[in-house]
């Protein structure tokens, strides 16, 4: 119930007040505001493409990379990207705090049907909810 209220607030306001979350040098110490993200495409543009790139091809750094989503066979089963988004993987942060089940379902649906991927079985919040960790990760300082 609480999540639904939060979501409607998110969509109603152009900008949210600062979350108040402090970060170490944090330097900003306060996280910036969240863009309203109604669709999976919105989530991809405002969250994912910073690393996975607008064309979904990822990038190669120093002996490490951001994996490509384009032509990625691991997207065949939606449970895998849902798990990774929820819990993070290696250097990739968890997004269970930041994204709602609806948003995760949306963006998983988006990446599985774009960048040359064609996994058309629908992804719904009902697929996401069971994967929400019982004790969600929370950053500490």
């Amino acid at each position: 119930m609480r999540r639904i209220i939060c979501l409607s607030t998110l969509l109603a306001l152009p900008l949210l007040a600062p979350s108040g979350t402090a970060h170490a040098d944090s330097a900003s110490a306060f996280e910036g505001t969240v863009q309203p993200m109604a669709t999976g495409e919105d989530v991809y543009h405002h969250v994912c493409q910073g690393c996975h790139m607008p064309d979904g091809r990822g990038a190669v750094g120093a002996s490490a990379r951001f994996p490509a989503l384009a032509g990625n066979a691991r997207l065949q089963v939606s449970a895998y990207p849902i798990y990774v988004i929820m819990n993070g993987y290696g250097g990739m942060p968890w997004f269970s705090e930041m994204l709602t089940d609806q948003q995760i379902a949306g963006v998983v649906g988006y990446i599985r049907t774009h960048f040359g991927n064609n996994y058309t079985d629908p992804v719904t919040p009902a697929d996401v909810t069971p994967q929400r960790p019982a004790i969600p990760p929370k950053e500490i300082y």
Partner: protein, 534 residues
């Protein structure tokens, strides 16, 4: 007790015991800190390592602050040290950008910095708390000149899109009103005997006096327009001289607006230990620290080496790397021990021969996204028009803040400010934009804080999205409570011949102090291990 003898000065222990008894442990800690017993971080003095067995080699991977400090202390102890660095520069995330520099990010965008000569932005670390004594110790030892960094400025702007008609208000106006109204409410609660069951008469009297004087209230415990409140929030017409010198007091904001605005968040921000005055910055740019460290160990560093794998056995450590100075030819470096300062975002994707628990720890720490904007303006309009000298204006827009330079006050000509500093959602968003789009967003949002001048005076700008930095893939480590419990000690413990160091191996994550303290612990462990080996 007679007074025939002059009172004896109590010993330090007697004094501390007395303070502890009278005022409790918080005051005791306070007093001990003042007297030099406790520090903000746990640095007291650098380790004194000596007597390394002749010819014992140590490979240090990464020439950021942790790597360079490890090399410095280990050479001093007698080890034969070699440092391999991926970039064509040392310093790691300790970096400043100046005119003529080029920023190439993952995804291919290239920015050429167009700042005027002498101007810079610190796109990584930019301020040093006074209690980061480890870093400050080495700044002093390596001759890095420091100057004050202005964190809190009462004349800066606070802005909420949903309060005060979306217009920025001065920090001093807001903080005066917030403190005034809250103390007034507490004062009234006392006078109306609402607190009698929890506060006795004597304490009530003290509290009442404190509220009046601390809150800037009139004797009737009301916060209202007048000299008392204007002495804090400022006058509508400032105090002048001569015949018409009389000031006109200003009107406080409506209490409801003050409380609803949420802007008190930014008052609380400066109260955090890490943000308290005095803060410092190096004169001339944060990279003066990296350069100071580099002066000590530059002869040990080989630049442009891309480490590809780290192996170890009972005899030593073997590191494979691509020598980018020679067309990327694969080479091998060997040593008895290794200090690895490669960020976990990179290390977690490399072939590293360590125990399964350490591998799991390396995989368990994600990296935060952060974006910083360095923007040059034709003149210091924030000083000339707004009387803002250093400090930070805060906003609930994605850029989150504008920080004005803490140096070069009153100078003419172009100057650079921090036009946005984002973590979390806004950082992901900005990282995904083109550099041009980031600047456009920063200009539009900055214009709200400085209407009419921000865009007009803008000259050029650069952004650094840390998640798009090829050798970092993120800004700094993000520890969850679970990961700390499960993996932190393992991550920091020497694994046979390899020990990790960096801000990620500390409780001062994302600060340079974390890199320093972690390196000191790593070299101490390594030395112990080497001394024990026969």
């Amino acid at each position: 007790m007679t007074d025939s003898h002059p009172p004896k000065t109590p010993t330090r222990r007697q004094l501390l015991t007395r303070i502890g008894t009278l005022a409790g442990s918080a005051a005791l800690y306070q007093a001990m800190t003042t007297m030099g017993h406790a520090q903000g971080t746990d640095f007291t003095a650098p380790p004194v390592l000596s007597g390394a067995r002749r010819g014992t080699r140590v490979l240090v991977l990464g020439a950021g602050l942790a790597g360079m400090l490890s090399a410095y202390e280990l050479r001093k102890a007698g080890y034969a040290v070699q440092v391999l660095e991926f970039q064509g520069r040392s310093g790691g995330r300790n970096i400043s950008l100046r005119g003529g520099d080029t920023v190439t990010e993952l995804g291919g965008a290239v920015q050429k910095v167009g700042f005027a000569s002498g101007n810079y932005i610190n796109p990584g670390p930019w301020r040093i708390p006074y209690h980061h004594q480890g870093l400050l110790h080495y700044c002093r030892e390596f001759g890095v000149e420091l100057e004050p960094f202005v964190e809190l400025n009462h004349n800066s702007w606070l802005h909420s899109s949903t309060a005060f008609d979306g217009k920025p208000v001065r920090y001093r106006e807001f903080s005066s009103d917030f403190t005034g109204f809250t103390t007034e409410l507490l004062g009234k609660a006392i006078d109306q005997h609402k607190l009698d069951d929890v506060v006795d008469a004597d304490e009530r009297e003290h509290l009442r006096t404190a509220m009046e004087q601390w809150g800037g209230l009139d004797p009737d415990l009301t916060y209202r327009k007048g000299d008392t409140s204007s002495q804090r929030r400022g006058y509508t017409r400032p105090q002048g001289g001569g015949i018409d010198g009389a000031p006109i007091p200003s009107d406080p904001f409506a209490r409801r607006d003050v409380l609803r605005s949420g802007l008190w968040t930014w008052m609380a921000f400066h109260e955090r230990l890490e943000m308290q005055t005095t803060m410092f910055q190096p004169v001339g740019g944060m990279d003066m620290i990296g350069k100071g460290f580099n002066r000590q160990v530059h002869d040990l560093i080989t630049l442009n080496c891309k480490v590809t794998s780290i192996q170890q056995d009972e005899h030593g450590v073997r590191v494979m790397y691509d020598d980018m100075n020679h067309g990327g030819v694969a080479r091998q470096a060997q040593a008895e021990y290794c200090v690895c300062t490669i960020p976990l975002s990179i290390l977690s994707q490399m072939d590293v021969q360590v125990s399964a628990p350490l591998k799991a720890a390396i995989m368990a720490v994600p990296y935060a996204s952060s974006v910083k904007m360095g923007m040059e303006f034709r003149r210091r309009f924030w000083e000339e028009d707004d009387q803002i000298y250093g400090g930070i204006s805060f906003t609930d827009q994605p850029i989150s803040q504008i920080s004005y330079p803490s140096h070069g006050y009153f100078s003419r000509g172009p100057a650079v400010l921090l036009g946005g500093y984002m973590f979390g959602p806004a950082a992901f968003d900005f990282a995904g934009m083109t550099p041009q789009a980031r600047l456009e967003q920063a200009l539009a949002q900055g214009e709200v804080l400085h209407p009419g001048t921000y865009r007009k005076e803008f000259s050029n700008g650069v952004s650094l999205a840390w998640s798009r930095v090829p050798w970092a893939l993120g800004c700094c480590s993000m520890w969850s409570e679970q990961a700390r419990k499960t993996h932190y000690k393992t991550l920091c413990t020497m694994d046979n011949r390899i020990v990790l160091a960096g801000e990620h191996a500390s409780y001062v994550g994302c600060w340079q102090e974390g890199a320093i303290l972690s390196a000191l612990d790593a070299v101490t462990q390594l030395h112990k291990r080497a001394q024990g080996a026969s």
